[in-house]
Amino acid sequence: MLRSLLKFVLLTRFSKALLAFIAFIFVYYVLAFSEFSAHNFYSARYLVVLFMIFLFVLSTLGGGIAILKSDRDFLFILPIPRRDLAVALYTAQLISMGLAVFFLLGYFYPFFPAAIRTSLLPLDIVAFSISITSLSIISFSLQFYRRLLLASFLSVWTASAMLGLRLSPAGIITGGEYLGSLSLVALAVTTTPLALKQLSSVELEFMRSLIRASSSDVKKQTDFAGLSPLRAIFSLNFFTVEFSGRMNTAGFGGGGYRSVRVRLVLLLPIMSLLAALYLLLMLKIGTFADVSFITAIASIYMIVFTLFMSLGVLGNERLWLGFTSVNPFAYLRYVVAARALSVASMFSPFAAADIVLSLLGVRGAINAALLVAVVLPCNFILVVLWSGYVSPVQIKEEGSMPSQFNLKQTLNVLPALVSIALASIVTVSLIFAVIISLVMLLSAFVTLTNKRVAEIIIRKMVDNGFV
């Protein structure tokens, strides 16, 4: 029973091509690990902590069980042993969440000293994979503030390794590898039984998450009455910021979409506060250290943030409404432009902070300002249009997977990877920063105004079952 259930669960959630790709990458990493020679460990330790925090945050805040609507309607009511169902769903979850560890942290493997690589590091990687898989399941039905608390606790605990605390999930970077491994194993041992218990009553958890997901009323209503079409589009897409979940890098990501709308005016003070903290931090360390590392960290977080803002732009659109009420090409153009301007406004306090730093003589700050003010919003436009061109997926229901994970969808993340690469190049020199900004501006403008591109995207949306 377990074998056939496992096969069914995996093949309904992942395309065969994607499973083959994941298997190939997995085998490649395992084989490649033994061949690498050690690099400069010191330079990689910050990034290891950063990526560990990123994965903890993503699994707790953006997690969700990889279940389909048809599971709720058919699979969950079948007379199958709950234990088998829990194991099958956990395995699918491990593939969709846990293997990300190999893709993201596997890169840093050769940076670790040989003695650690062959002893405790494999244990750490396995324990970490299991931990984020289990956390993504546990957080599925938690209220948002509880998920936020959990994410904050895990972030602080992991970051404490940078201060030399050995009993931390990232303890391996401190030289206290035994205590680091102990932390991760303890986390895995604590969270996995809870996750399996939750999966054994998955139908109840699913319904509970739907009820708890958000309140049923829109508290502050937007008044569209009397607005022109253009103002209505901007009112909806510029003044409210929408975050939608799921990333899909080689199958990696939460199972279900969640969409959250936040008013830009409420978000701006928070972003200003964060920008002020960033400014203070940069001023503090800018006098005696190379600030490009902090800039790179901030940039990566902003890129990830931008990615989450881009996922629902087309996914939450309704062809039969917006696209049939006005000229569809103009509608697509205005919606994407309004969202990109919203991104630029949201990050404008960081751009302002970078300009202040630049005026105070901090090296590389003006490059970061260009990155935030120009490159990120332009990249946002390209990410949205690219996802529409490659494989648009409509979000029709909360909580469950809108479609099977497939290899084509993994291409959606390419522009985000390009922008991470650009972010590191932009920090190198001002000339590069200016050239890249101009190229991105031109690319975004040409793509956004190209009628043929819009035609193809709309046709693909219709073909992919958008209503």
Binding site: F224, S325, Y331, D463
Partner: protein
């Protein structure tokens, strides 16, 4: 002027041919049921007329204009099967947003009238994602009729509605005097809403005429059996 023209339209999705030279016309004020078995091409026809798909060849027009033109869009109301309004917006926000895009005058009054008529007033602040399927259908009908379109394309309009609401919607649609093309599998819905019938199968018209004419084909059997026989013979 003819309100709807579909002339020798071909449409395929890759290797699958959805429409093979489909042709029919509706005059202004006509109310026509579009009947056909699953996969006959009904939804594709409506999507082409709504300007969401372009035919591979042939002509489709709404009041003499191309379906994707501004002229056609401004007078067209379209309700797809299993419609889904903007999920993160409330009921009222959905109605007001679409009214603004369509430049509907007296938005507040019209929205209020629709909310009251379809008994959605108590849900006006509710997020669409939290509504029952029946209330989503009511809202979707309101969204497609809010601008009082001259041509209405409806795909299974009475799905999920309770019987009193079905009666209300039928009354509302009949009062509108618009040209109407209704795709449905339910003969009773077709009989209540329309006077004409186009039966299609495998992407082509196999029969067209008046509802009375259809009933008159055989007085000994129900109209469902007549239509079923037509479809079976065509396959």
């Amino acid at each position: 002027m003819e309100a709807v023209i579909v002339e020798n339209v071909y449409k395929s999705y890759g290797r699958v041919i959805a429409l093979r030279g489909l042709s029919f016309r509706l005059n202004q004020g006509d109310r026509c049921a579009l009947l056909g078995p699953n996969g006959a091409g009904k939804s594709t026809t409506l999507k082409i007329l709504a300007g969401l798909l372009k035919p591979d060849s042939g002509i489709a027009s709404i009041m003499g204009s191309e379906p994707s033109s501004i002229q056609a869009r401004s007078i067209l109301g379209y309700l797809p099967e299993d419609p889904s309004p903007y999920r993160t917006l409330s009921v009222r926000e959905n109605l007001e947003y679409i009214a603004a895009l369509r430049r509907v005058p007296d938005t507040k009054e019209r929205v209020d009238r629709m909310l009251d008529y379809l008994e959605l007033r108590e849900y006006e602040k509710s997020k669409v994602s939290k509504l029952s399927r029946g209330n989503v259908q009511k809202l979707s009908l309101a969204l497609s009729l809010l601008h009082e379109p001259k041509v209405i394309l409806l795909d299974e309009p009475l799905n999920y509605l309770d019987i009193p609401t079905q009666e209300k919607v039928i009354f509302l649609l009949k009062r509108m005097n618009s040209t109407m093309l209704v795709s449905t599998h339910i003969m009773s819905v077709a009989e209540r809403l329309t006077e004409q019938v186009v039966v299609i199968a495998k992407g082509n018209v196999i029969w067209k005429g008046g509802m009375d004419e259809l009933r008159g084909i055989s007085k000994d059997e129900p109209v469902e059996s007549i239509v079923a026989r037509m479809m079976t013979n065509a396959s």
